[in-house]
Amino acid sequence: MELDELQDTWNELGKQTAAKPLSAPAGITSTHKSILRSRLYRILLPEIAGGIVCLLSILYILLHFDRLDSTGFRFTGILTILLLGAMCLLSLCSLQYLYKSEDLNRPYAETLRAFSYQKSRFCRLQKINLFLGYGLLASSILLSTRIFGRNPVTDNKYFFLITYLTGYYFLFFFSRKVFSGYQKTIRETETLLQELSAG
C-alpha cells in the first residue's frame, strides 16, 4: 500500500461516514453519563478490594502479634505489615492519576506530555509493587507458621519447600510477562517525552 493509497483509504472513511450519518446526538443532557468515568469505577473496584484485603491482613497480624514468640518472628511480622501497607499505598497512588481531571482544550502535545509522565509513573510504581510482592511472599509464608498456630500443614517437613517453590514459580512467571510489559511501556513513553521536548 503506497502513501497515496493510504490517503485514498482515509478519504473513503470520510465518504462512508458522510453517506450514512449517525443518529442525532440525543440525550446529551444531564442524563448522559461519561463512559470513561463509569469504566474508571470498574477499574477502581478491584483495586479497592485489594486494598481492603491488605488492611484486613495487617489487622489480623496485629491481633495475633502475641503469637510471634521470638525476635525473628516479630521482626518478620513488622516487615510484613510494612510491605502490606506499602503495597496498598502504592497501588492507590498509581491509580490516583486516573482521576485527575484534565483540560480538554489544551494542545494535543501538552496532553501527550502529561499522559506520558503519568503512564511512566504508573508503570514504575507497579514495578516496585511487583518487587515488594516477592518480599511479601517470603515473609508471609514464614509468618503463617506462627500466626495460624502449629498444625499438620505447617509442621510438614516439606511445607517450606512446597510453598516457596510454588509461590515463587507462580510469581516469577506471572511477573515476567507483566514486568516486560511495564518496561516496554516505560521505554516508549520516555522516547515520546524526548520527542515532545525536542518540539
Binding site: 461516514t17 470513561l36 486516573l98 484534565e102 480538554l104 482544550n105 502535545a109 510489559g181 515520546l192
Partner: protein
C-alpha cells in the same frame, strides 16, 4: 441559536471528524463506539469553553484527540496488547471487503507510529494546513512540516519492507 442547537449543529456537521478520530485510536468496534459517545459528551461539556478564536472544527479536533488520549489512560492499564479487530471499520453494513482490507492495512501501518506521530498523521490525512495542525497540537508549524516528512519516510520504509 441556543447552546444545545449550536452544539447539535456542530456535531452534525463534523461527525466524520469524531468517527475518524475514534476509529484511529481504538482497536475494537465496542471501544470505538464508546469513544464516539465520550467525545460527544466531552464536547458538550466543554462547549462553553469554545472561545471562537479558532474555527469550530479546529477546536473539535483538539478536544476529540485529547479525549482519545484519556481513553488510552484507562485502556493501556491492560498491559496485554489488544489485537486489531477485523471488520473494525464496519460503521455501516458494508459488503466492501476490499475496503475493509485496505482499512486494516492502514491501521496496521499507523499502529507502528507513536501517539504524537499518529495525531500528526491524522491531521495530515485530513488535509489540515500546517498552521492549523500547529494550532491543534501546540507544535510550531515548521516543526510540524519536519515531523510529517519524517512520518512519511517512516511509512515509505514500512511499505518497502
Amino acid at each position: 441559536m441556543d447552546k444545545k442547537e449550536a452544539y447539535i449543529s456542530a456535531i452534525r456537521e463534523n461527525q466524520d471528524l469524531i468517527i475518524k478520530v475514534a476509529s484511529l485510536y481504538t482497536n475494537t468496534k465496542e471501544d470505538r463506539n464508546d469513544l464516539v459517545q465520550e467525545i460527544r459528551y466531552q464536547l458538550w461539556k466543554s462547549f462553553d469553553s469554545f472561545q471562537q478564536r479558532s474555527a469550530i472544527r479546529t477546536w473539535m479536533y483538539r478536544v476529540a484527540m485529547n479525549v482519545a488520549i484519556y481513553q488510552l489512560k484507562i485502556d493501556k492499564r491492560k498491559i496485554t496488547a489488544v489485537p486489531l479487530e477485523e471488520n473494525l471499520v464496519a460503521l455501516h453494513s458494508t459488503d466492501d471487503d476490499d475496503y475493509e482490507e485496505k482499512w486494516h492495512l492502514l491501521k496496521s501501518r499507523i499502529h507502528q507510529l507513536n501517539l504524537l506521530e499518529k495525531g500528526l498523521l491524522l491531521l495530515y490525512l485530513e488535509n489540515r494546513s500546517y498552521e492549523e495542525i500547529a494550532q491543534i497540537t501546540g507544535i510550531s508549524a515548521s516543526n510540524v512540516g519536519t515531523r510529517i516528512s519524517r512520518i512519511k519516510e517512516k511509512l515509505r520504509n514500512q511499505i518497502k519492507k
